[in-house]
Structure formats: structure tokens, C-alpha cells
């Protein structure tokens, strides 16, 4: 495995292997010294072309706890603002020979481009509305911890399916490991042919009681004027996960940031059946596993001369 560009190219074994590997990093954060020397001397570059709090800090912590050196790059304040192209930016950073680049960008396929241009290992931390594989892996990790299995688990993914990279990677990952996935949202936010990903499609929450877990997606309120929806109140009236719609024993997941009172009833987020903070915590272990798998799990790739643009 050279890169983690998405869930789609992974086999079921690779997904399960990454989840097992994540377990071995679990608990490191409870120790007084939260660090192992595994990736000492390696350089991880966080290349973030759009704002991120939790994903970037999670990758940074994961790399640091593995003793890698971390360089954070964000688009604002960089030469991109002076008109440098994305490719030139990538080539410039790649010339400084990072071993691994974590990429977050608003464009579909951005991580794959970085992989092609840089010669480094690449982890996709979100490319437009396409994929966000480490999010899906950490979600599966939390589900497996809570339920002890993934096979046969029923998971409902509720909300803005069309604009969500979280949903896309999650559905692909759940289907791969044999879970039953239902996507639910307003028909204007459920893209055509989504059932081809292996999910069942529904436009109402009727039947959500059969789910083991409900995954609420964030509604992009800041883009409300552009969303094909009548209003927030109508959205909430049909799709908000509240204490009336979630029965005891069902797990609630959310990738954050949560719009309390929109996709989820505010106080529900603080109940024990909400796994939001478990997801954040699992994120570090899962990302450690991914970094480990790419950088130490096999012989480091000899980059020189193999990639376009890096001599």
C-alpha cells in the first residue's frame, strides 16, 4: 500500500487490517508519555488547502505520537495567494522530501494528483465531495468497538448525502465489511444512482428504528441559500435526529462539527448514546495506524526518479 486515496480502491481485508492495526495504538493516549519512536526521522507534511480543525490536529497528533517530524502547510498565507498554481506548490513542497503528505483540498481527485506529482506517500484527508477515508475508518472502528462486529450491522446515514465526502467513504466502507447501509435524506440531497454504491435509499426516517446506529450528517448551513431545500425548519421537521426518533440502544454518530438543533437535537449530542467524542478520540489511533502502515509497515518506497517532477 503506497497511498490511502480512498476507500473505494481498498479490499475488505485491507480495511479490516487497518482496523486491527488501529487497536494496537489504542490506549497510548492514556499513558503519561504519549509517544512511541516508530517513525523517528520521518517527515509528514500536512497540506491543507481548506480550513480544518479536527482532521488536521488529529493527523498532527498521530504523526507526533509516532515521533515523526510534522510540517503544517495551509493555503492561506502561502504563495498560492500570490498566484502560484497547486501543482507548483506541490512540487515545491515535495522537493523538500517529505515522506508522507496528508492532503485536504476542495477539489475531487486532489490527493491523487499530489500522489502523482510528489513521489511521497499520500493520505487523502478529504478531496472535495469525493472521499474522506480516514473518517470512514474511524467510524468503523467506533462501531466495531461498540457492537463487537461490523458484519450484518444496520447503519442509517441521514442528511445531505449529495455534498458529503464523509457519507461517500462511509457507505463504501460499510458495504465492504458487510454492513447493511441505508441512506436517508431529502430527495434533492440524495444523488441519483446512490444505490449503486450498495446502499438502500429512503426519503423518510420511517423505519429508522431498525438501525443499530444512526449517522447524522452535517447540514452545510453556511450554504443554506444554495441548498435545494425549502427551509431549515422543514429539514429539521423531517430529518433531525432527536430523542423521539432515536430509541435507547441505538448509537448516534456524527463527524462534526455538529449544528445542534439542526441535524441533531442539541441535548442528544451530550447523551451517552452519542459517540461524537469517541469518534474524535478514535481518529488519532486510526490515523496512527494509517501512517504506520504506509511508512513503516513495509519497506519505505524509493521515491527518487519514480515520480513526475521529482528528480
Amino acid at each position: 500500500m503506497d497511498h490511502l486515496l480512498g476507500i473505494e480502491p481498498l479490499g475488505r481485508e485491507e480495511v479490516e487490517e487497518l482496523l486491527s492495526l488501529s487497536e494496537s495504538f489504542e490506549g497510548l493516549d492514556l499513558r503519561e508519555v504519549k509517544k512511541v519512536p516508530t517513525l523517528r526521522g520521518r517527515t509528514v507534511l500536512n497540506l491543507f488547502m481548506e480550513p480544518s480543525t479536527r482532521t488536521r490536529s488529529s493527523f498532527e497528533l498521530a504523526a507526533k505520537r509516532l515521533s515523526a517530524d510534522v510540517l503544517n502547510f495551509s493555503a492561506s498565507g502561502s504563495s498560492l495567494e500570490k498566484g502560484e498554481s497547486f501543482k507548483d506548490t506541490v512540487l515545491t513542497l515535495a522537493a523538500q522530501r517529505p515522506d508522507l503528505i496528508v492532503v485536504r483540498a476542495p477539489w475531487v481527485g486532489a490527493a491523487a494528483l499530489v500522489a502523482r506529482w510528489s513521489g511521497a506517500h499520500v493520505v487523502n484527508a478529504g478531496d472535495g465531495g469525493h472521499e474522506h477515508p480516514t473518517q470512514a475508518l474511524l467510524d468503523l472502528y467506533v462501531l466495531k468497538q461498540r457492537f463487537g462486529r461490523l458484519e450484518g450491522l444496520s447503519v442509517w446515514v441521514v442528511g445531505d448525502i449529495a455534498h458529503s465526502r464523509v457519507a461517500r467513504s462511509l457507505v463504501l466502507a460499510l458495504v465492504k465489511v458487510g454492513a447493511a447501509v441505508t441512506v436517508c435524506g431529502p430527495p434533492t440531497l440524495v444523488p441519483p444512482a446512490v444505490e449503486r454504491l450498495g446502499a438502500t435509499v429512503t426519503y423518510t426516517l420511517e423505519g429508522v428504528g431498525e438501525a443499530d446506529a444512526v449517522y447524522a450528517l452535517r447540514l452545510q448551513r453556511e450554504r443554506m441559500a444554495e441548498l435545494p431545500l425549502p427551509s431549515l425548519r422543514e429539514y429539521a421537521s423531517r430529518y433531525q435526529i432527536d430523542r423521539g426518533r432515536l430509541r435507547p440502544g441505538q448509537l448516534l454518530l456524527h463527524a462534526g462539527p455538529v449544528n445542534r438543533g439542526v441535524e441533531v437535537e442539541g441535548r442528544l449530542v451530550d447523551q451517552p448514546q452519542a459517540a461524537v467524542l469517541d469518534q474524535v478520540r478514535a481518529g488519532v489511533a486510526v490515523r496512527m495506524a494509517v501512517l504506520y502502515r504506509l511508512l513503516a509497515g513495509q519497506q519505505a518506497r524509493v521515491a527518487a526518479g519514480t515520480a513526475e517532477g521529482v528528480a
Binding site: 431529502p186 430527495p187 434533492t188 423518510t204 435545494p228 425549502p230 425548519r233 422543514e234
Partner: protein, 446 residues
Amino acid sequence: MTEVLVGPPAGTKRLLLRELNGLDPRSGVEGRIDLRIARGRIVELGEGGSLAAQEGEEVVEGGGRLWVFPAFFDPHVHLRAPGEEHKEGLETGTQAAAAGGFWAVLAMANTTPPIDSVELLAALQERARQEAAVMVGFFATLSQGLGGTRLSELAMLREGGAVGFSDDGKPVANPALLRTALRYQRLCGGVIALHEEDPALAGGGAVREGPTATRLALPGIPAASESAALARDLELIGEEGGRVHILHLSTCRSVELLGGAKERGLAVSGEVTPHHLILDEQEVATLDTAFKVNPPLGNGKDRQALLEGLRSGVIDCIATDHAPHAPEDKEVPFEQAAMGTTGLETAFAALYTHLVEPGLLPLSRLVEALSGGATLYGLEPATIAKGAAAHLAIVDLEAAWVAGEQGWRSKATNCCFAGRRLQGRVVLTLCAGQPVHTLLGEVVQL
């Protein structure tokens, strides 16, 4: 879901209608019949003269002269409430409907303010329960404030009892909004009713482009204003699916397009108004603003195609598009006049006089098309059958009258048939067994 039709309570009277000529293509009733009505329903249906009056029953003798039809259903009226009660209102509009033999009407949402929230809808339904003479269903707007940019809260509105969604009065100019609406309909249900007009092509015109417009130098509206918009929308419906009703068809090409769409299996239906079936653009020669309607009156070819479409079933039903206006909106130069004609009180008689009597349309098809609109909106249509709700129109086909001569039930007088001698008059309308209009003993002496 809240009930869709609201209005007066069912009648409590016990009635016996004797020796009427029954005609209901839906139930197959045809011939001399007696009907017994109690608790708002038809409790007994017998051959003419077979039922004897029981104690406490009021008897209406048809004498073999009166006809009984399933009462009519108008899926397209403007009652102007809230906001323009000087033009019409729930009370007067529904009284006009009752006088025309209608047991129910569907009211458009282009009021002031437009009906685009459940709060407005609920308030209007409550008023209708108090004021309406016949049952009323309400459309909600498709777009917020009729703005054409953002969907109204369609799911909440449908749950609140909106019969369907329409920006009627205005077209949905933006195809992306319609596409969004067609998708959203999978959640909210209801019928999307479209007023087909390309605003750029219509361009502020007053009449259909043609000889009369040219002679009078009035700005013309091309027929393609309607058919181009319809063609576009049918392409969207073909791709997205959806249940759509096309309002007030007025051109030959529109009928062909609707027929083609039905052949393709699209869930589309269409309506035509009495004035588009009976009148054409030559009427405008008088510059009588009663003939200024939207869509404008077409030419003879359009009229023929609409009639043929109605006969063949390509056009599903008749709707009046009852559009009351204040005198000050019509008593102005033609270019400045508001568009629209009233139609509830004259619909049956005008169509009977101009289409059935000359042999252009079978009476049974007229009855079917005037009463069948309910089914297009998922509502139970009136029918003459034992156990059915007693929504009945009793008509004297031998009565002749001059439209408007004795005034109107409607608050408005802008009827394009005003002053015409019409044959056939609704003498009794029952809405769930309740007599909501009667001329018995007044016009008709039996």
C-alpha cells in the same frame, strides 16, 4: 395528514329525488332514476318512480324533465382570499361555485400574501370551514412568495392539507427550480400544477398573436410562449419523474405535446377552460376586456384541437380558472386590463349550449370532464351510486337564461359569457346532501 377539502358540514336533511334523468359515466347510471338521500349520502337508488316518500322526507319531483349529474369539481379557481376580498372571497366564490353545480373547488395560492406556509394555510382552511358554501381545497405556492427561486415548505404544507403546489398566475421560469421540485415531490407528494408560459416570449402581450392583434395593433403573445415552456417541462418530467398537472391548455401544439407525454407514460394530466373551448381570438375585436385572459384566446385551429383533446381524453378535465377582478381592473384600456374571466356560474350552461347542443361533444363526456378533476388530485369524485356522498347537480336542460341578467353570485362581473343566452341551468346543487344552491320553485315551476 390534515384533510384536503374543507367546507360546510354534511347535510342532515332527508331528501327524495324522484323521476330524474340520471347520467353518470363513472358509475354507468343512465336513465330515469329515484334517489334517496340521508346523512349526506345516497342511501337508495332506484328506477324512476320506484321509491315512495317516507315520513319526514323532502321530495323533489323531477317530472322527467330535470337531470341529475354527479356534481362538478373545479380544480382551478381564484377565490382572492386572503388579501383581495374586494374582488371575491371564500363566501361569494363558493356561492358562485354552488350556483354552477360544483360541490368542490381547488383554490390557487397566488393571494396576498401567497399561501406558502402552513400557518397561512391553516388560517385559510379555518375561514373556509366558517364561510365556504361548498368544499374547498387549497393549493400552496411551489416557490416561497411566488418568487420563483426557492421551494416553499412543501412537505409541511402537504401534511397541513395542501392539495398540490402551484405558482399559477406565474410560470415556473427557472427550469432548475422545477427540477428540484420534481425531486422533492418524492418526499412531499401532492400534485405540481404548472402554468406554462415563457415570460420572455409572452413579453407583456395582451392577446394571442394573430389577425386580430395585428388589426388592432395590440401586443401579441405567440402560441409558442405556452408550448415551448411545456416542451421544456415535459423533458424535465421525463428525466425526473413526478406527478404534474398542466393548467389551462390553450394551443394546438400543447395538446399534441401532452398527448405525446402520455404515450410515453409520464404521469401528466391537463385541463382546459370553457372559454378556450368556446371562444377564439376574434372575440377580442370588440376590445371588451372580458375577453382578455391568460393564456390568451387562441385561433380556430387551437379551439378545434382543444375540443378534440377533450373528446379523446388527452385533456382530462375542464377547469374554469375562475378569475374575478374588480371593475377598476377591467374598466380600463385593453392593454392595461387585468387578465382573467369568471366562469363558475356559466361553465355548464356555456359548454352545453356551445358544444353539446350543436353535437360537438357528448353530454356524458361533458359531465365526466366537469366532475372528474377530483381524481387527478387523488380525491374521491362525485358519483351517483348507493353509498356515495350525495354531491349532485340537478339541471334543467330546457331552461334558457341570459348570463348575468339577474346578477351574479360572484362578487365580480367580469364574465366573458355575460349577456349570452345560454341553454341549461343548474337548479339544485347538493354538497354532501346539503342543498347549497337552489332555484327550485323560483325559476323552475314544475
